[in-house]
């Protein structure tokens, strides 16, 4: 399992190509990108705050859970924080498994869990000012 938290941009392929996963027939990856609009209004950038000491641990818990549930051979999570401009990458999740169905389910499960459990908060910056993005409640804490 590889978990990286960083301010800088990353190369999605370089992050995964050195990983030699024996017996995997499928790799599914998700890359999140800063959209140019939110609710129809233009966005300049995102400012992402996080809780560094908790983030690393929470991402590891999310990855371990998905690995067990979906028989994943390997998981890579990279998530940026700080100022990220429109069109730039925010994060990526890549997973490997024997078959495609597990890889798709496992990758989506991790991305979904990130949205509700990983302690990141996004602020959208636009010419009109800035506003926090509404977050989502974890199922078990509603």
């Amino acid at each position: 399992m590889i978990i990286r938290l960083q301010r800088e941009d990353f190369d999605p392929e370089r992050a995964v190509q050195a990983i030699d996963v024996k017996g995997s027939g499928a790799r599914v990856s998700f890359v999140g990108i800063v959209r140019d609009t939110a609710a129809g209004a233009p966005i300049t950038a995102l400012e992402i705050e996080h809780y560094p000491e908790m983030t690393q641990a929470e991402l590891a818990r999310i990855a371990t859970h998905a690995q067990d549930q979906h028989h994943l051979h390997e998981v890579v999570i990279i998530h940026r924080y700080g100022y990220i401009e429109r069109g730039e990458r925010i994060m990526m999740v890549a997973v490997w498994s024997a078959h495609r169905a597990e890889a798709f389910m496992g990758c989506q499960a991790i991305v979904d869990a990130l949205k509700t459990r990983a302690p990141f908060w996004k602020k959208e910056i636009s010419p009109q000012g800035s506003a926090w993005v509404a977050g989502a409640m974890p199922h078990d804490l509603g």
């Binding site: 994060m91 302690p119 908060w121 409640m137």
Partner: protein, 79 residues
């Protein structure tokens, strides 16, 4: 001593990123700690509010003890 941390909109309303709180002898919950520290600002905090105790998700009704780190923050928006 309990370490209290605030993030995102909670930090902005509290106008600080954390505090320290001397736990009384009795059992207290995360919510008790927040109420004691926030005072009049309690009503201004964004809701719903999440809490983590020792860097794991918890409930506002979860008990806290001396030495714990409690963090209060809005629902997250990772990914």
């Amino acid at each position: 001593m309990i370490t209290v941390r605030f993030f995102a909109a909670v930090r902005e309303v509290m106008e600080r990123d954390g505090a320290r709180y001397e736990a009384p002898g009795a059992t207290v919950t995360a919510n008790d700690v927040l109420a004691a520290i926030a005072g009049a600002r309690l009503a201004d905090l964004p809701r719903p509010l999440l809490v983590a105790i020792n860097r794991e998700h918890a409930h506002l009704t979860s008990p806290v003890k001396d030495g714990d780190e409690i963090a209060f923050f809005p629902p997250v928006s990772g990914g």
